[in-house]
Subunit: 374 residues, 2 copies
Amino acid sequence: MDKEFGGYFTSLDRDGSVYDYTKYMWMQWRIVYMFSELHLSEYSRPGWLDIAERGFDFLYKHGRDETGHYYFALNRKGEPSIAAYNIFSDCFAAMGSAALYKATGTDRYRRAAEDAMNGYLARIDNPKAQWEKSLAGRQRFLSLGHYMMLANLGVIMDECLDADRYRSDLDSAISIVLDRFWNPELGLMFENVLPNGGFDLESCEGRMLNPGHVLEAMWFILNYFDRNGGDPHNLIKVAKIIKAALKTGWDTEHGGLFYFMDAQNKPHLELQWDMKLWWPQCEALIACLYAFKMTGDREFYDWFVKFNEWTWNHFRDPEFGEWYGYLNRQGAPTHSLKGGKWKTFFHLPRCLLMSVRLMQDIKNALTTTEFGEI
Amino acid sequence: MDKEFGGYFTSLDRDGSVYDYTKYMWMQWRIVYMFSELHLSEYSRPGWLDIAERGFDFLYKHGRDETGHYYFALNRKGEPSIAAYNIFSDCFAAMGSAALYKATGTDRYRRAAEDAMNGYLARIDNPKAQWEKSLAGRQRFLSLGHYMMLANLGVIMDECLDADRYRSDLDSAISIVLDRFWNPELGLMFENVLPNGGFDLESCEGRMLNPGHVLEAMWFILNYFDRNGGDPHNLIKVAKIIKAALKTGWDTEHGGLFYFMDAQNKPHLELQWDMKLWWPQCEALIACLYAFKMTGDREFYDWFVKFNEWTWNHFRDPEFGEWYGYLNRQGAPTHSLKGGKWKTFFHLPRCLLMSVRLMQDIKNALTTTEFGEI
């Protein structure tokens, strides 16, 4: 916490020292979300709700531009630093505010959540606004990230605000993800698909795979099915997609899930495609456990064990705690940071909290004999 | 060459096969530049001038938006694909057109070069135009890249157009690079410096080092001194900056020059900071030879030998020719591509052509005894 100006420091080096003071909105709101959720959890500690509420005050006061959208970043004092060019700032503001409403019942958090959610929905068709660089000659794509987050937000709104007004957006996002992004012939879920259906195998963008995104999207959908029931055919499809993403994304040579891939193993535009980031592994852990819980298919349990071993052997910092964020393909850290522009107290604690709960559910559902086996 | 629509394919896999059809303007104009220069060189071959001229026709016809700035990318057919958000498209258009004028004396190439150069100069204070995301709360910086390219463009305009009208821009760019970006206490040349002087060691942006940029900027300046004479104090300073960049940037563990670094060894924002890219090594090779030629200091020769060995041992593809573009820190290729969004027929051939010429100059300048020693 920045006790002088408000908000949080997220650029934290290995030992927790601050190496940059920029307040990136994605990171700030994810901390509000996580401390609200942890306050509500069986692990709650005094002071955690206060951490979330003080963050909200700072972000709500300083965070929005004149159109109501959240900036991408503030400076340490809370002055606007990077414009609201990215709709996921609104997305994480909605998540954080909704969780804070669930934790407190305070109406201003609910209103802030709804405003941010409506801001997100209003921009989903033109997310980059005036900062859009694409022109008519560029192939347009639907992006898995947008629909994945819409599905996640819908579930969170449903759960935190007890509001079913986003249900149709949610149902439509899930249908789009399962029907449009999955290519059954190739057995791959793509990151970018053609707006009118189909896949573009002629371009880097069209061939791009993001296995961490796929696994995250799939557990969001399983979470929805778990809460609301779902067509058994869809459950079978989700299980198949998860297996495909695990198999495609796992590095058989060095272990861990690749960051980005190309559907035809052609060169990837991103230099860091082969790195092992903490978050895709976190999403894989949750997806494996959720799929095991929902299907009972032992293959998911085996994948969980594999990821569990690899991640704790490679990401954990036994001296200063927390996980490293970035490993090279071989599994050695390339950065000493524990938090930064894109990593904060979010994916790992969410993964741990979800995993503990899923393991409890699995344990409760199994007979003593079954449990003994695993 | 795309014989159907014009322009060039630059997304070429290891064996030369095309893996994406986007025509990125930086890459397209760099090919025009390189084939014009090679046509003028002692290695000229029939057809090379035609390659440059056919490229010019396509790019001049399709490449500019309604304000006269060059787009960032066209699609295969030449339709605008990515907007003119990046001023270096104008910069490379000026370079390519100027070299083509030098090769042909055709006036339309000269006019195109001057228009693009003026477009570049007009935007240097607000290079991102409407795509700028920075707001008042963000620390502004002067960027080495902009002044480095201005110095390079000034020399090229001077040489190709025989025009001294850019001489004052050039002189001012060289002064700014040498006076403002070099920190004598720390012995480092920074990538971003405060507009009113000084360095920001509190932020990732302020601490950023880009040793490849430094070496490129320094040989541009040596090239200028070589052609026009220069203050001997400045020559001594440039030599010191080159030694500092080589020493700071060289990876003593695995060899090669790092891509990005942090002045205080704090975490770098970029995931790929520790990768070994082809172009910083190319710039290092030229800088070492140029500094050896201009100063006679044997230390530069030793550095050249070191880079020469490391690069040819790691980047060369003995089976299909050309160099790989991207190696991991350990020196193994992470991408099979020979060309892409950022790599094309430019840094490597420029480096080879410059190196051969510099070695000839060095040989001619040395007495027989001196030459025998090296």
